[in-house]
Symmetry: C2
Subunit: 403 residues, 2 copies
């Protein structure tokens, strides 16, 4: 079996069914035997769900020991009733585990604006905290308990050796609708036994989220509940990573980014109704900001996304999307390639359409994984982003979500 | 028959088939017997089609006498070959009509990045300029000659009396895909016999475009070719409108806005694959900029658009879209209404969900014309925008456009 959260030293978890969702698990609990340093990034939507407001406050001290997430009700636009529910969740867990309430991270996902079913969820917490375990199956239960419209659970595990100590990291995520860059992302929870200083972890999480979850897009909307949280309990016993110059820092950061990127790609693969996974590379841009904005503009354009669904090498839409990105863009310098790296077709050279075999390129676009590479010949910045196509299934699915 | 461009004093036009499009008319010519003051707004896309670059230069003197537009080839991303084509169009028309080349407005619409078929189009201009006429049917021909994926021609006519003189305005437009606010808009050509000063016309056109074409959205992309041009030949003989304080200014501006709004709504009605026309009102906002950004965010959200297609009163998506608008937004002050003004249902009051009859609201959402009203109770600014739903037909249609 693949390793999961339960294989990280000191962590236990459980995923249970409280009844908020009719059939599936809807309550996730992740617990560390000892206090962790913790950091999180949050949605940039101006409408912020109640649990995120609470978690932001709790994480001011960069410390946490347990994370509780319910699925089925987002506890967003629920006002005081919702905030009371989030507080009740935290208090219940803190009391049962004998922790300060500030050491509890709360998250929610599901429908916006429904009254929050505090009683069911608090009851579920009471019933399930005693079930916390490091048995392997609990890792799968907790990964499933945070899902909503996802079609599969998203899990990842990486490890490395620091100071001859084995250091592990495991994570779970949920995605599906409303995935977009430039946000605190959808839900992703990562735990590690690495020994690291809190403010450094905070900064590192921000940078890794920027280079992973913030480079994916499904439908261009940012939800009220998006959050990525990382908890590190130090039980691996490595020499504490206390600065970017520490010899363990880069190896740790690379692994964290690898794990986040793995989860981010799983989210794109499971985008609502998506039939294709598309990797967009913008290279040799004048600077990173320009490359990021272009990746985002192309991957978010619904005209590009529908063309991908239709296996249509419509480079005009890609160039047009770049022109709308709000950054400097000179198409006359741009080369554009479609296909995978071993089977690339150059469709534009210095802005000029190139002759290509239309049947061959349509064959390339039939693949489930498509590469689009835009070479700007204007500098040396490169950014890679990931997106899905826009399908008739997506529209059908999203036209009937609440009803 | 409805009045059209040929009913405006001094204007003639013609719409012809040059062969760039296989079956339909694809060349539009609008001509005034005397020189006009003229103004235009253009796409904000960084990739600007060649004809727009030329027209911008030509209109520096705010004067024009003929407008030529071809459909089927956008003359965008065509580089020097394309610019030579646009210049050839202007020179051909100028020579035949004995005008300075700067008095020619050039526009194009169609596929991006295909070599420009200069010879066909120049041949078409030569053949069809002699056919310019003020006979009524030419108005319909010219309205049809600028279309691409539109399913019907978009025309409008308004008139008013200024200084006891009859003043007329007529316009044609094309839309369909790639319609979005905050741009120089898709194609709209308006002619009038009003007597007005050039710089004042320029400013007025900008303001009216902002309050009409820039408040509509279909799919959030802005094309390389969008342009709205207005030509006024002064033949109505009214006292020249030379300032905003002139007694004729407001009546004239109101009529111009009425005509633009009429054309803008026709464009939304004919949005690719759209099944619904949705009017979004944001009222009592703290200022106009906030209201505009909120209208745009809601009407562009593909989650809101798919909900409208699915007749789903998913107010959570509307609130979430507002949170992503990048402006101050306090949902706790917001009332939200769905339905038409005579049959409104309040779904949110001060951010709190209100009980409503789900079957009744689903019936309201079955209408082809839907009203969404967001009352922010935060000031007195109001902006109304227009959008379409996102349908499975849209996706199917756009997945096979070039192929």
């Amino acid at each position: 079996m693949n390793k999961n959260i339960t294989d990280v030293k000191g962590f236990k978890c459980w995923g249970a069914h409280t009844g908020v969702k009719s059939m599936k698990r809807d309550l996730a609990i992740i617990y560390s035997e000892v206090p962790c340093v913790a950091a999180a990034t949050y949605t940039l939507n101006k409408v912020v769900a109640e649990p995120l407001k609470l978690t932001k406050k709790h994480l001011l001290n960069r410390r946490a020991q347990v994370l509780i997430c319910n699925a089925g009700n987002a506890n967003a636009c629920t006002g005081k009733q919702g905030m009371r529910g989030a507080v009740a969740m935290a208090k219940t867990a803190a009391k049962m585990l004998n922790l300060p309430v500030e050491d509890v991270i709360i998250a929610s996902t599901g429908l916006i604006g429904e009254p929050f079913p505090t009683e069911d969820i608090v009851g579920g917490i009471k019933e399930n905290i005693p079930k916390l375990t490091s048995r392997g199956e609990a890792g799968s239960f907790v990964a499933n308990a945070i899902l909503t419209t996802d079609t599969f659970a998203k899990e990842g595990f990486v490890n490395l050796t620091l100071d001859k100590k084995d250091v592990s990291m495991a994570g779970i995520a949920k995605g599906s609708g409303m995935i977009h860059p430039n946000m605190g992302t959808m839900l992703a929870f990562i735990v590690s036994d690495v020994n690291i200083e809190g403010t450094l972890l905070d900064e590192t999480v921000r940078e890794c989220v920027r280079d992973s979850f913030n480079l994916i897009t499904i439908d261009g909307d940012t939800s009220t509940n998006d959050m990525a949280a990382v908890m590190c309990n130090g039980m691996a016993g490595n020499d504490k990573i206390d600065s970017k110059d520490h010899p363990s820092y880069q190896p740790f950061k690379e692994k964290l980014l690898e794990l986040m990127l793995h989860l981010a790609k799983l989210i794109v693969s499971d985008g609502e109704g998506a039939s294709k996974f598309i990797q967009y590379t913008v290279k040799n841009a004048r600077n990173e900001k320009t490359a990021r904005k272009l990746v985002r503009a192309i991957s978010s354009s619904i005209l590009v996304k529908t063309a991908m669904f239709g296996r249509d090498p419509n480079w005009g839409r890609i160039i047009c999307a770049c022109g709308n990105a709000g950054v400097h863009f000179n198409y006359k310098k741009a080369d554009l390639f479609i296909g995978d790296p071993n089977n690339q077709v150059k469709v534009l050279e210095k802005g000029k359409p190139q002759p290509y075999d239309r049947n061959f390129i349509k064959k390339l676009l039939r693949e489930a994984h498509i590469h689009v590479v835009l070479d700007l010949h204007s500098g040396d910045a490169e950014v890679i982003g990931y997106g899905s196509d826009l399908t008739t299934d997506y529209v059908l699915f999203n036209s009937v979500y609440t009803t």
